[in-house]
Amino acid sequence: MSMNLEREKEVLVGSQLAETKKLNLSSILYVGTVISMLVALYFIFIYAAEEKTMGAAQKIFYFHVSSAWLAFMAFFVTFVCSILFLIKRKRIFDTYAYVSAEIGVVFTIIVLTTGPIWAKSSWNTWWVWEPRLITTLILFFIYVAYIMIRQMDGVWDKKARLAAVFGIIGFADVPIVFFAIRWWQTKFHPIVFGDGPSQSGGGIEGTMLTALFVSLAAFTILYSYFLYKGVSFENMKIKVERYKEKLREDLDK
């Protein structure tokens, strides 16, 4: 059965396995990631003012929020690519959706580990049943399930189709989960942007805001680097699979 897993598409024409590397974009993104990360670290640890009540622990906030931003963006990309895949049926959309979901899960893990550390330092408890935290946890489970659909055996386009459907359903679920949990539990997070109710620690100073935006930008570049790397890897893998298929055909003759 495993013989013709890739048979749905025509066997690779020509037997070239040359690694068609586009060195330019990859290295630009790599250098960009390293530089922007260093700049972000400078802004976080040296430039930004220290929070009065929480001290150094407040600096967790920058990576926590940036990871959350990256994860949500990654899942949004998965959602969009899932829709595009169902409409256009091009394998590249499926690859993008998968790689993006995987990156999203990795950064959700960061959110879910830095979140409790923040909670311990400011509310003196590891886990609070708070809307955003639980929503992130549910989001994590949804996309782990998404990746498990990808691990199923079968022809690629069936897996891609089912995963795309689940990617759409899962993303549509997120806002409802959030509102349900928000109703269920009162809010714990200070309102950072805009006029919050007068919470001490609410509101944000100018330098902190700059540092936050710099780290958001750095994480966005990091995301595009991971995405590019992951997609080119997946493409290479597909090529190798097709090549193997061709070899099998030759052997059969």
């Binding site: 037997s15 396995l17 690694e19 929480m54 001290g55 150094a56 622990a57 407040q58 600096k59 967790i60 990576f63 926590h64 990871s67 990156i103 990795v106 950064f107 893990i109 960061i110 580990t113 830095t114 550390i117 923040w118 311990k120 330092s121 990091l222 991971f226 790397k229 992951g230 890897f233 290479m236 893998k237 190798v240 090549y243 193997k244 070899l247």
Partner: protein, 43 residues
């Protein structure tokens, strides 16, 4: 104040990121080996 929490959080974040990079690298080497094998087979 709160330094231990900051160190904890940032080291966890970096461990996860580099762990992911490591996993990607491992996949790459595996695929490279496979390509080498196929090239040998081709000859």
């Amino acid at each position: 104040m709160g330094f231990e929490y900051m160190y904890g959080a940032y080291s966890v974040a970096w461990v996860v990121i580099f762990g992911y990079v490591l996993i990607i690298g491992k996949r790459h080497t595996k695929l490279k080996k496979e390509i080498e094998f196929l090239k040998q087979l081709d000859k």
